[in-house]
Symmetry: C2
Subunit: 208 residues, 2 copies
């Protein structure tokens, strides 16, 4: 599967970065992510669209270079995440700005837009062979205190980023995890004209 992403013709394939993306539970803990690559991740994040161009996304980054700071982030995670997340090269607390910057009203789209920016970041990472595992399993109150979030900001996820391990058994462990991935079928979530009415004809799928 070799697809040029600048190709403007029909590809019949989902974007390679979208298909390649998955959420590992282990990283090569010896590898750092360069400043240049980290910069690319956040540039990708910032080009997401947002309601009223509020750009309500914020990121607090800790890296392995500063173990004390890195461990502050490990400390806010729920138990099941602490061990594997320690193998990441960097951990990022994602934070939504909950109020509009121009009239202080509630920004209903804050989490939605943050999610889009993290999706951009994640696909950019995949492009660079960097993988991302997002966690909802952390203590929000603790995060907001430890990282001194401003009022009207909400911690939403912690994302672990790093390179995949290179040991000889890794591919087998990866394949096992990937074989367990499940997605809803399109007729469960894409509807025609009204809720619950499948958009795609099931016969169309069989043709493909």
């Amino acid at each position: 599967m070799h697809i040029e992403s600048t190709n403007t013709e029909q590809t019949n394939e989902v974007l390679p970065s979208i298909k390649k993306r998955w959420s590992p539970r282990e990283f090569d803990y010896t590898k750092k992510i360069s400043q240049e690559n980290l910069q690319l991740l956040f540039e990708a994040a910032c080009w997401a669209p947002s309601a009223n161009n509020e750009q309500p996304w914020n990121f607090i980054v800790v890296t392995k270079d500063e173990p004390e700071q890195f461990n502050k982030m490990i400390a806010i995670l729920k138990e099941g995440n602490k061990l594997w997340a320690s193998t990441a090269s960097a951990l990022i607390l994602t934070v939504a700005s909950l109020r509009s910057s121009y009239n202080n009203s509630e920004n209903f789209h804050a989490l939605y837009d943050l999610g889009a920016s993290v999706a951009n970041l994640t696909l950019q990472a995949t492009e660079l062979n960097i993988y991302v595992h997002q966690m909802g399993g952390f203590y929000h109150d603790k995060a907001e205190k430890v990282f001194q979030l401003s009022e009207n900001s909400k911690s939403v996820s912690v994302i672990a980023v790093g390179y995949l391990p290179e040991d000889e058994n890794f591919e087998a462990r990866k394949e096992e995890l990937l074989s367990k991935r499940r997605r809803k079928s399109l007729d469960e979530f894409v509807f025609r004209n009204n809720w619950g009415n499948p958009f795609f004809n099931i016969n169309d799928f069989q043709k493909n």
Copy 2:
């Protein structure tokens, strides 16, 4: 700028689909999006990650092929969006499932995960030369009634999708809009170790 998205080496560029994406306010109203391409958009959407793999995203699609249904979607938009959105090939109401499917608890990440799936959809569209303009400007109550959303579902955005116009003045109109795009600089939203402490050294930017 020619970058292969299967390239696993350093590219020094943000993914082409991310850079190319923008939100037009006009489409070529004569063009339809094929079923195959619509299917690719939703397959891209479904491969987003989600908290506990809830996949809390749903999409109600109306197309120009069914003008009466299409106009139902136009009717829920705020005035400023009705005219230009009418030029789209399809309009999609995005809907978040607000409760966990296994214990009915509130899914804090519902909107965040929906945002990620729409980001995937949008980048897949861009890859196919299809453009997306998301709108927050619509009447949620009306949408939820007209499209018969299930309880515990929340309408979040309406997205217009279509091909760009091909008339000779379009490029000039596009360039004017693009010249007005603004993004925060990285030091406003990427922090090192604590809120408010810029991650990147401003001298690093000047090198690039």
